[in-house]
């Protein structure tokens, strides 16, 4: 009996925290979007003109219940207002569970919206279980008396243990936790970082590879520049042993001392020529298989009629 009472007591601050957090994240989403028109989970079930008022009402109800739970937790506990608010919380989570079930059926692409921008994942069994758990937690608070400070250390430790266990359970049932953790320690991977081409060129011109090939290069500006993942490729026209060539640099997109690869390619045939500065060792041999072989490319590149054919990718038989 004492344990049940302790469990009931723990639910009140937990439910209040969940409700206030839900309200705050929803408001944050509305502020960011500049309107309340965006779906907040179950509001997607309603016609457009009802979504905005419903979203506002939902936020207001969550805030009112969350604050109400805290205010009535003390000496008002056990009285009608406290019971009403706690019953209201239970009812809210019960309705939310049903709405999420319906949402999962009719709009499988919509997130639950429980915690604003964090709740973008489609409604899953975990989301439903969390909502049902909170409904049960709400029910457990209904007949709890006024909450007082624990009289013994063992009592305080017991409450803390129950609270921690429940927080852990809620965290396990919350898809939003993973999203939150990613945001906390985020730094954009190099594949997603926007790196100006000018910076790449500056880094390239500082490298020893540039100095090695600079005498061959016949143009100040590159002929072609493109990027794939963390590499930027820069092509300069060059002249080597009386033939027209291309010097291709691959520059790894890191700020300081980027890795550079270079190749000298015959412009006419596509053949890879030996470096004028002698053989260079590949520092990234593992990349070659990833990037595919160019064996099949060269003869085709060598073919005059192939060069004149613009549609040199497989085409369907278009009449």
């Amino acid at each position: 009996m004492i344990v049940l009472e302790a469990i009931g007591e723990v639910q009140i601050p937990l439910l209040a925290a969940m409700l206030l957090l839900g309200c705050a994240t929803k408001v944050l989403k509305m502020v960011r979007a500049g309107s309340a028109d965006d779906n907040i989970g179950p509001t997607a079930l309603f016609p457009m003109h009802l979504r905005r008022p419903l979203a506002v009402v939902l936020c207001a109800v969550e805030a009112a219940l969350g604050l109400g739970l805290l205010v009535t937790a003390g000496r008002f506990g056990g009285h009608a207002p406290a019971d009403g608010i706690r019953l209201g919380s239970c009812l809210l989570f019960l309705v939310a569970t049903c709405a999420l079930l319906e949402l999962r059926q009719s709009r499988p692409d919509v997130g639950c919206g429980c915690f604003g921008d964090f709740s973008t994942a489609p409604v899953s069994a975990r989301t439903l279980a969390r909502s049902a758990l909170l409904a049960v937690a709400g029910l457990a608070t209904v007949w709890v008396g006024p909450i007082t400070r624990p009289r013994t250390v063992a009592g305080a430790f017991g409450l803390l243990t129950i609270a921690c266990a429940e927080v852990l359970l809620i965290a396990v049932l919350s898809p939003e936790v993973g999203e939150g953790l990613i945001r906390l320690g985020y730094s954009a991977p190099c594949e997603l970082r926007n790196v100006p081409a000018a910076r790449t060129l500056a880094a390239l011109r500082r490298s020893k590879y540039w100095r090695r090939y600079a005498s061959l290069i016949t143009s100040e500006s590159p002929e072609d520049v493109w990027r794939e993942l963390c590499w930027r490729f820069v092509v300069f026209p060059a002249r080597y042993q009386d033939r027209q060539t291309d010097v291709v640099f691959a520059v790894f997109l890191q700020h300081r001392r980027p890795v550079v690869h270079v190749a000298l390619v015959d412009s006419g045939t596509g053949a890879l020529l030996e470096s004028p500065a002698g053989k260079q060792r590949s520092r990234w041999p593992g990349l070659a298989p990833l990037l595919g072989s160019a064996r099949g490319l060269l003869p085709a590149f060598n073919s005059a009629e192939a060069r004149s054919a613009p549609a040199d990718l497989p085409l369907s038989t278009d009449l």
Partner: protein, 374 residues
């Protein structure tokens, strides 16, 4: 999806190692002729990239002539050039000259071609119909049966698609901005289609995104069905995309859509990618200003090759990036063709690629996984 057997890997496996000479250019900055230029740039960039990462044992001594490349290439034992065109995923387009229950005759200029129709062949022109109900002069896209060169099993007549941002609404007509190079397009919505479209696109107001499949009739586009679901936000208020920590995964799952060819060769197997490098990137961006996209995808360029898998049929294929899709980047919708895909469009395929991978045009999308770096 009926075309689970339409696995195209074998048919276009040579795509990534096939390439022919090209002039150097920056197709992404081009506009009207970007399609064909992109095709040549794909080959050249792949050649140069392979050269720079090629094992140094394959170097050709500088003293050797142009013919040095030949034997070196054969050493790998790989096939040179393209696969037989008839082994590629088969999509044919043309104008219908005649359609009977068993035979379809397509023409283009003074050429014509006959196709036998399978007993279960179906056609689509706004709605599903018998092939015999197709009309002369309808513009048709025909999917050929995988086991018969001149046998058709699916026909789409006059199909079109408009994807963009609504800029104006006048009654049942929408003016849609499809991007800097594609311009604007008017969608006429017939009352009988309006309700169906509004189930998925409830806000047909300026500023909101729209993606509608319909038919083209006498220069007019008539919206018939919603291609996907409308994102709830106006295009200017894109929600923050989910963050990616560590390295971007090699495989990204989302929605793959299709687009009309416009300035591309009609049958090209290519894909418009939503995250071209902004430095050398997308012609659309230059006019509209770089906008962040929803799907967080690694930066690539024209010529990069993706393996795209249709998660609904299991078909997969290596397809080169031939364009960009800045409008597609604004969508955070999901594809629900089979299951629910994660949010965001990961590929905007050409008609031929979409059909080759087993997509049904009127469904608008399929759940797809793209793999980068193969």
């Amino acid at each position: 999806m009926r075309s689970a057997h339409l696995v195209c890997c074998d048919r276009c496996a040579s795509l990534t190692r096939s390439g022919r000479g090209a002039t150097t250019s920056d197709p992404a900055r081009g506009s009207a002729d970007s399609g064909s230029t992109a095709v040549t740039t794909v080959a050249r960039r792949r050649l140069l990239k392979s050269a720079v990462f090629r094992p140094q044992t394959e170097l050709v001594p500088a003293g050797r002539g142009a013919d040095a490349a030949g034997p070196a290439d054969d050493a790998g034992g790989q096939s040179v050039g393209f696969a037989d065109v008839f082994q590629l995923p088969r999509t044919v387009s043309g104008t219908i000259l005649d359609a009977s229950p068993h035979v379809l005759i397509l023409g283009e200029g003074d050429r014509e071609q006959r196709f036998a129709l399978t007993p279960d062949a179906v056609a689509w022109r706004g709605t599903q119909l018998e092939p015999a109900a197709l009309l002369q002069d309808d513009r048709a896209i025909v999917r050929l049966h995988p086991f018969g060169r001149n046998v058709a099993d699916r026909i789409w007549a006059n199909i079109g698609r408009v994807t963009g941002i609504i800029t104006e609404r006048s009654g049942n007509q929408l003016l849609v901005d499809e991007g800097a190079t594609r311009g604007t397009e008017v969608i006429a919505l017939e009352p009988r289609s309006l309700g169906r479209i509004q189930v998925r696109f409830p806000t047909l107001e300026p500023g909101y995104l729209v993606d509608i499949i319909g038919i083209r009739r006498r220069g007019e586009f008539i919206g018939m069905i919603p291609a996907t679901s409308q994102p709830a936000y106006p295009a200017q208020r894109l929600p923050a995309p989910p963050l990616v920590s560590g390295h971007v995964p090699d495989s990204i799952t989302g929605s793959a859509t299709w687009h009309e060819p416009r300035d591309e060769p009609a049958g090209i197997l290519g894909v418009s990618y939503p995250a071209l490098d902004p430095e050398t990137g997308c012609a659309e961006d230059l006019a509209a200003g770089m906008r962040p996209g929803y799907a967080r995808m690694p930066f690539l360029a024209i010529g990069s090759v993706l393996r795209i898998r249709n998660d609904c049929t299991g078909s997969s294929c290596l397809i080169p990036v031939t364009g960009c899709t800045p409008i597609g980047r604004l969508f955070n919708d999901r594809c629900v063709t089979c299951g629910t895909s994660p949010r965001g469009r990961v590929a905007d395929l050409t008609l031929a690629s979409f059909i080759a991978l087993g997509g049904e045009l009127e469904r608008g999308c399929f759940n797809a996984t793209i793999t980068i770096g193969e």
